[in-house]
C-alpha cells in the first residue's frame, strides 16, 4: 500500500495506517465513475448492486438508474473502473465502463425538461380555464360570463405566450424559409383563437375559445414531448454505446516511459504500445514485436493475420497475442477507420431525403386548412357583410381542423412501438427507421459477428485424441489468444485435465512451446510447426518429431440465427448472406442457417454494389452487419441493423442497434414495424373522418367552444388509445 511508503505529517497516522486511510476516504477527492449494466431488470438487482458497490472500499455512493441501465459511482481517486467492473461481475451481472466525459453532455436533457415545463403550465391553465368554461356552457350569463371570460383571458394569455413558443418559433422559421409545415396552421389557429376571443370578450360576446386554445397547446405539447422522449432515450443509449469504447492509448515518450493518454492527443510519428487484447487506436507500422491481428471487424476475415516489424496495421484491428510497438502514420480523422466512417455522413444525408408519413400528411394538410378557413371567411363575409362573424367562423374552422390528432398520431405510435422494441433489445436510432423497416422485403446478412458470434470454438473430430488435447490445453493455459482459450474451454468441457508441462513460452505471432519429458512440443501457426496451411480457422500441435496434429475451429452461430432466418423466409422475405470471408467458410455457414443465396470474398465495394443492384430491382433491403467492411453497405441499404458489439462506425451507420446477443428480435421487429405503420395510417384515417364530420359544422357556424373542445378531446384520445393497442 502507498500509505507505508509515504512519510506522513501526522505521527498517529504512521502508527495507525487505518486511521489515515479513513481520513483519506473523507478527503474531497471524488471521481465519478459510470458503469453500464445491460442485464439488470428488477428491484433486487438494484439493491444488490448498490449494496455491493457501497461495500467496495473507497466507494462513497452508488446509484443505479434502471431506466438507462447504468450506475453512477462516486469513489475515491484510487478506485479504478476496472475494479468496480470486476466487483459487479462477481455479483453475477454484466458491467462495462462508460466514458464519463462523453456521457456528461447528455446527463441533463435540457430540451426535454423545457418541453415538460411548458406542458405542465399548459395543463394547469387548461384545467382552470376549462372549469370556468364549464360554468359558461352550463348557463352563466351577462356580467358573470364576462367576468369568467376575462379571468380565462388572464390565465390563457401568459400561458400561450410561454407554452406556445416551440410552435411559434418553428412556424416562423418555416415561413422565413418560404415553406409550410404543421406548425404554421397550429400557430395561426392558436393566435387567431386568442385574438378573436379577446375581441368577443371585449364586446361581451357569447363565445370565447380560450379553453380551446390552451387545450390545443397542451395536447400538441404532449405529442411533442412523447416524440422527444422516444428519441432522447434512443440517443442517450446510442451515446452510451459510444461511451463504451474508452479512447485511451499507451504512448511511449522520448524518455522511454509509457504514459496513458487520450487518443485525441496522439500525433503522427508517436510510438504507441498496443497490448495483447487491445484495439489498435491509429493507423501505423509495426516497429517492434510480432503478433497476430484480428481483422474480422474490418474485413470479415475470421483467420488472424500475422504481423511483425514493417507490417502496416490499421485502426480498429485487435492485437491478439504479443505486445507491439507501432509508429503512428495516421491519427484521428485521417485513419482508414474514420475515412470509412465519413461515408456514413454521406449516407445520412441520403436518408434525410426519405419523407416521413407525418411530413407527407402535413404537406397535404397545411395548405388545405388555410384555404378552407379563407373560403369560410370569404363566404360568410359575402353572406353577412359582417367582419366579426366571418372572422369568428374562420377561427372556429382553424381551431376545429387543427391537427391535434395529427400531432399525436405519429408520436404516440412511434413511442409505443419503439418502447416495445427497446424492451426486446432493439434501439431505434433514426426517426424514420420504423417506417422504412415496414417496407422491407429483402434481408441481407453479414457473416462474422452478425450471424456468428465472432468467437471460435474447437470442432471435436477424430484428428486428435484426448492426450493431444491434454497437451494442447497445457500449452494454451498461459495464453490469451482466442484460439488458445477455445482449446482450453474444449478441454474443460471434455473433462480432460491439462498435461504436466515445463518451460512454457509464448512466441508472439507464432504460438506457444514447452517441454514434456525433454521433448519439445509446440502449438501454433502451421508454418511454425511445419504443417500445411488449411483453409479453415485452425491451429497445429507438434510433439517432438512426430507429425503435426490439426485442431480446427468453427465460429459459433449467434443465438437465434437459424430461427431468425427461418422466420424471415417464412414471412416471404428474400434472405441473402454476403461476407468477406472465404468461400468454404461462407458456404458451410449458409447451409447451416438455411440461406440459399450467398456471396463470399466480397470487398466493401462489392457489398454496396450488390445492395444497389437489389435496390435497382425494386427491393427494399434490410442490411444486418457489424464490421467496418459493412459500413458502406449499411448506409446504402434502405434500413440497417447492427449489433451492439459492432464497431463504432458500423453502429453509427445503422438505423437500429441490436442490444442483446440474441438475433431473434430482428424478425419480430419487421412485423412490429408493419403494425406500427398500419396504426399510423389508421390514426390519419381517424383524424380525417373526424375532420369530415367537424368541418361542415364549423363552416356552418355551429362550432361553439363546447363543440370544439369535445371534438378535439375525442379525436386526440381516440388516436392515443389506438396507438396503445401496439404495446
Amino acid at each position: 500500500m502507498t500509505v507505508a511508503l509515504r512519510p506522513s505529517a501526522c505521527p498517529a497516522c504512521t502508527a495507525a495506517p487505518a486511521a489515515e486511510a479513513a481520513a483519506e476516504r473523507d478527503a474531497p477527492r471524488d471521481a465519478q465513475i459510470f458503469l453500464s449494466l445491460p442485464t439488470i431488470h428488477c428491484a433486487a438487482c438494484i439493491a444488490r448492486i448498490e449494496r455491493g458497490l457501497s461495500e467496495h472500499p473507497g466507494v462513497r455512493a452508488a446509484r443505479v438508474n434502471l431506466t438507462r441501465k447504468r450506475a453512477s459511482v462516486t469513489a475515491a481517486d484510487d478506485v479504478s473502473a476496472a475494479q468496480l467492473v470486476a466487483a459487479v461481475e462477481a455479483m453475477g451481472y454484466e458491467a462495462h465502463e462508460l466514458d464519463a466525459s462523453s456521457l456528461r453532455a447528455t446527463e441533463t436533457d435540457r430540451a426535454g425538461r423545457d418541453l415538460l415545463m411548458r406542458m405542465a403550465v399548459a395543463g394547469f391553465a387548461s384545467m382552470n380555464v376549462m372549469l370556468l368554461s364549464v360554468s359558461v356552457w352550463s348557463g352563466a350569463e351577462d356580467a358573470t360570463r364576462d367576468l369568467f371570460h376575462w379571468i380565462s383571458a388572464a390565465i390563457a394569455l401568459p400561458t400561450i405566450a410561454f407554452s406556445g413558443q416551440p410552435f411559434f418559433r418553428n412556424a416562423w422559421s418555416a415561413l422565413k424559409a418560404k415553406r409550410l409545415n404543421m406548425d404554421v396552421p397550429i400557430s395561426l389557429a392558436i393566435l387567431l383563437a386568442v385574438v378573436t376571443s379577446l375581441w368577443e370578450t371585449a364586446l361581451s360576446g357569447e363565445h370565447a375559445y380560450f379553453d380551446a386554445a390552451v387545450a390545443l397547446t397542451f395536447f400538441l405539447l404532449a405529442g411533442r414531448y412523447l416524440d422527444h422522449r422516444t428519441r432522447a432515450v434512443a440517443r442517450s443509449a446510442a451515446e452510451e454505446l459510444t461511451a463504451l469504447e474508452v479512447p485511451r492509448a499507451w504512448r511511449i515518450g522520448a524518455d522511454g516511459v509509457e504514459r496513458e493518454v487520450d487518443v485525441a492527443e496522439l500525433v503522427e510519428g508517436d510510438l504507441i504500445r498496443v497490448r495483447p487484447g487491445a484495439r489498435c487506436p491509429v493507423d501505423g507500422e509495426v516497429v517492434e514485436g510480432t503478433s497476430e491481428m484480428d481483422r474480422s471487424l474490418l474485413t470479415g476475415e475470421t483467420l488472424p493475420v500475422f504481423s511483425g516489424p514493417g507490417q502496416p496495421v490499421s485502426a480498429g484491428e485487435i492485437n491478439l497475442s504479443g505486445p507491439l510497438v507501432i509508429r503512428a502514420t495516421a491519427v484521428g480523422t485521417d485513419t482508414s477507420l474514420h475515412r470509412l466512417a465519413d461515408l456514413v455522413a454521406v449516407a445520412e444525408a441520403g436518408r434525410a431525403r426519405y419523407t416521413s408519413l407525418a411530413d407527407r400528411a402535413a404537406k397535404l394538410y397545411a395548405p388545405g386548412v388555410h384555404i378552407l378557413a379563407a373560403l369560410a371567411f370569404a363566404g360568410w363575409y359575402l353572406a353577412t357583410w359582417d367582419v366579426r362573424t366571418a372572422l369568428n367562423i374562420a377561427a372556429a374552422v382553424l381551431i376545429i381542423t387543427c391537427p391535434c390528432a395529427l400531432g399525436l398520431a405519429v408520436p404516440a405510435v412511434t413511442t409505443a412501438a419503439s418502447g416495445r422494441l427497446f424492451r426486446q433489445g432493439m434501439l431505434i436510432k433514426h426517426e424514420t427507421a420504423l417506417e422504412r423497416l415496414a417496407e422491407v422485403d429483402c434481408v441481407v446478412f453479414d457473416k462474422t459477428g452478425t450471424l456468428t458470434e465472432g468467437d471460435p470454438r474447437l470442432v471435436a473430430n477424430d484428428e486428435f485424441d484426448a492426450d493431444d488435447l491434454a497437451r494442447a490445453a497445457a500449452l494454451a493455459e498461459g495464453s490469451s489468444h482466442p484460439l488458445a482459450r477455445a482449446v482450453l474451454r474444449a478441454a474443460r468441457d471434455a473433462g480432460v485435465a491439462p498435461a504436466k508441462i515445463e518451460n512454457v513460452e509464448e512466441v508472439p505471432g507464432y504460438g506457444i512451446r514447452g517441454q514434456i519429458g525433454g521433448e519439445e512440443i509446440r502449438l501454433g501457426r502451421a508454418a511454425w510447426v511445419d504443417a500445411e496451411t488449411g483453409a479453415s480457422t485452425e491451429t497445429w500441435l507438434r510433439v517432438g518429431r512426430r507429425d503435426a496434429v490439426r485442431f480446427a475451429f468453427e465460429d459459433r452461430l449467434r443465438e437465434g440465427a437459424s430461427d431468425t432466418v427461418a422466420a424471415l423466409r417464412g414471412a416471404g422475405h428474400r434472405v441473402l448472406l454476403i461476407s468477406g470471408d472465404t468461400e468454404r467458410a461462407v458456404a458451410s455457414l449458409a447451409a447451416r442457417v438455411g440461406i440459399d443465396e450467398w456471396l463470399a470474398e466480397t470487398r466493401p465495394e462489392d457489398k454496396v454494389a450488390r445492395i444497389e443492384a437489389l435496390t435497382a430491382e425494386g427491393a427494399h433491403v434490410l442490411m444486418v452487419g457489424d464490421g467496418l467492411n459493412d459500413t458502406a453497405a449499411l448506409a446504402a441499404a434502405h434500413v440497417s441493423i447492427s449489433p451492439a458489439s459492432a464497431l463504432d462506425a458500423a453502429r453509427a451507420a445503422s438505423d437500429i442497434v441490436l442490444l442483446g446477443r440474441n438475433l431473434s428480435p430482428v424478425a419480430g421487429s419487421l412485423d412490429l414495424a408493419r403494425k406500427a405503420t398500419r396504426r399510423i395510417t389508421e390514426n390519419f384515417r381517424i383524424a380525417t373522418i373526424y375532420n369530415i364530420v367537424a368541418v361542415p359544422l364549423a363552416v356552418a357556424g355551429l362550432a361553439t367552444p363546447l363543440v370544439a373542445a369535445l371534438a378535439m378531446s375525442t379525436s386526440s384520445i381516440t388516436v392515443s388509445l389506438n396507438a396503445l393497442r401496439l404495446r
Binding site: 428491484a43 438494484i46 370556468l132 358573470t144 390565465i155
Partner: protein, 52 residues
C-alpha cells in the same frame, strides 16, 4: 355571487401550488429514472430510516 370572489382565487392558488410542486420535481431530477423508482418501492432497504 360573493362566493366566487373566494373560490376562484382559491382554486387558482391551489392549482398554482401543484404547478410549482411539479416544476420543483422536474428541476430536482425526479423523473430521471421512472422505471427504477417504480421498482424501488418493492425494496425495504430504506424503510426505517432515510438514505444517509
Amino acid at each position: 355571487m360573493n362566493i366566487l370572489a373566494y373560490l376562484i382565487p382559491i382554486s387558482l392558488v391551489l392549482g398554482g401550488v401543484g404547478l410549482v410542486g411539479f416544476i420543483y420535481t422536474v428541476r430536482s431530477n425526479q423523473y430521471d429514472d421512472p422505471e427504477g423508482d417504480a421498482e424501488r418501492i418493492l425494496s425495504d432497504e430504506w424503510d426505517d430510516h432515510p438514505k444517509p
